[in-house]
Symmetry: C2
Subunit: 333 residues, 2 copies
């Protein structure tokens, strides 16, 4: 693990980050130039990198443990979308002038908690100074049985479209955070805030999806945009019924207060649920998987043949009428 | 490869970065959530991550192609120090408000050149906005025959200490850049500037070192500091003769102008040469390797037993007198 030799940075690595590498011998205690990893036999590697920068991807005053949750969450969500089991990660920290040791301690404690939850280990990285805001980059490596990685490109006409959990909570949570959504009872507001601050990557689901799914993606840009990515990669079109999109109790309350928020729920980002497609013959297996994982898996629409508009996503209401969306894309925080 | 959905960022990935991933199928054209890699049989993986931030690790007005050279150089230098052959990399770009498309094009062209030189390929990454200066993180993955990774910890009493190439050019080049070193002829000044701007990772040497070396590290913090890392990891002490440290013609000219610069040469960073130790029985093999690679490999000192000061580095002059250094550490740019 490198550093800039600023006073205390060797100490910081030794004190806060080396313990996160203790259980993976290949990390060499973060004391060498690089890590040495022996790939598990019969497995392929899945590699993903995500960067979060203060003031863009999270508020500048975000709780350090929540920044750790988000950094781990967004990366493991990408692994989950490919069907991979998390293995190891590297961490690059560009520390702002005002990033103090208290922050680093709380951040490392947060990482430690998520390492435990997901059985991953730090193996290396870099700690440097930046003249700008705190910027963090995590590269996660997972493994998947050979040939069993899930892709965005496998959706076929006739497949059903599913999502895990509930949709739109994070985007609504951001509204709560910014004071743009009031009138919810405190527990419901808290639920949405929690979903925004602490994304839960669907790792257990991802590692089980290969047996049933034809394509998968994680919902980071928003349900409609990410479904569009699957449709584009697969050369198909997709239709979803907005009333089949699963909403949490808190999201239902929010939409009751402001009906326009329903569009935000299906276009807002940062949910980190999984979206996947599967042939109808898999419906019973998916229902069993849902029960086994105690995780809601909802059928929200179908994949159709490309009729000259590959990548198109049609959103319909209960009457079958097409809903026209003001924003199908998404901007973070 | 992710992005922030800012206008044009999908285009930028498609136009400038997807071509860098074209030859490695596992990168999936940067179009999926993550890359899929099949590890080569019988090889271990070497993983390293380095971050560069404008205004800290390179001047804010640095040529984009030189930033690419430095980013690739510092990471592949870590792989070389472990004896690895470069394989693939991910790239995380946190773009400043004023990072324009011209910059990105020139940066990507620079990456393409180094990919060709080192036979590496982009497989994924992230492109985001930051409210601070341009900050780049590269994670490089190399491979090495099982059990043949070089470590810092293998140096033993009686071993000789070697360095590749010439030492101190980059630190002297930074002095030239900052206008703190004048009086050199233009070609000599240019040579030092080139060594600062465009580090050459010693990849070919690194992949051949396992047969001869007992320990290795790349010189990023400075010769004395990095030798100290080897001595600490190996539980030994090290002695080098300052007159055996190989200097370029330009560095000799600089030291003639300012004799105090000799200390800078052995303590300044960013050379990205390799430092390694080897038993005396390997001297002839090292000489042959030097001829074969057409790369100077200089014996500069010896490893001694720990006499209660493990990690200590002694620098002596031609009379055997100990030279006391004002700064043995190093700060970048």
């Amino acid at each position: 693990m490198g550093n800039d030799n600023h006073p205390g940075e060797f100490d910081i690595i030794a004190r806060y980050f080396a313990p996160l590498a203790a259980a993976e011998l290949g990390g060499l205690g973060l004391s060498d130039d690089a890590a040495i990893l022996k790939p598990p036999p019969g497995r392929e590697l899945i590699v993903t990198t995500d960067t979060l920068s203060a003031g863009v991807h999270f508020p500048v005053d975000e709780d350090p443990a929540d920044i750790a949750a988000r950094l781990i969450g967004v990366n493991l969500s990408d692994l989950a979308a490919m069907g991979a089991t998390p293995w190891v990660y590297t961490l690059a920290l560009a520390l702002a002038d005002n990033t103090g040791e208290d922050f680093i301690k709380a951040f490392a404690d947060g990482l430690a908690r998520h390492q435990g939850t997901h059985a991953i280990h730090l193996i290396g990285g870099d700690t440097v100074a930046t003249k700008g805001p705190l910027t963090l980059t995590l590269t996660a490596i997972g493994t998947v049985a050979e040939g069993q990685a899930l892709r965005r490109s496998g959706a076929a006409a006739g497949d059903d479209i599913y999502v895990s959990g509930t949709i739109g909570d994070a985007a609504l949570g951001l509204k709560v955070l910014n004071g743009e959504l009031s009138g919810l009872t405190p527990p419901l507001g808290e639920h949405l805030l929690d979903r925004y601050h602490r994304p839960q990557p669907r790792v257990a689901l991802g590692s089980r999806l290969y047996a049933v799914a034809s394509a998968a993606i994680d919902i980071s840009d928003g349900l409609v945009a990410d479904l569009g990515h699957v449709a584009t990669a697969s050369g198909v079109v997709a239709s979803i019924d907005i009333n089949n999109v699963p909403l949490s109790e808190a999201a239902i309350a929010a939409v009751t207060l402001g009906p326009a928020l329903k569009e935000l729920a299906i276009t807002g980002g940062d949910d980190y649920e999984l979206l996947f497609t599967a042939p109808p013959s898999q419906a019973a297996a998916i229902e069993r998987l849902s029960q086994e994982l105690e995780l809601e898996l909802s059928r929200i629409g179908t994949i159709d043949e490309d009729t000259g508009h590959a990548g198109a996503v049609r959103v319909i209401d209960e009457t079958g009428a097409k809903i026209s969306l003001k924003n199908s894309g998404y901007r973070h925080f």
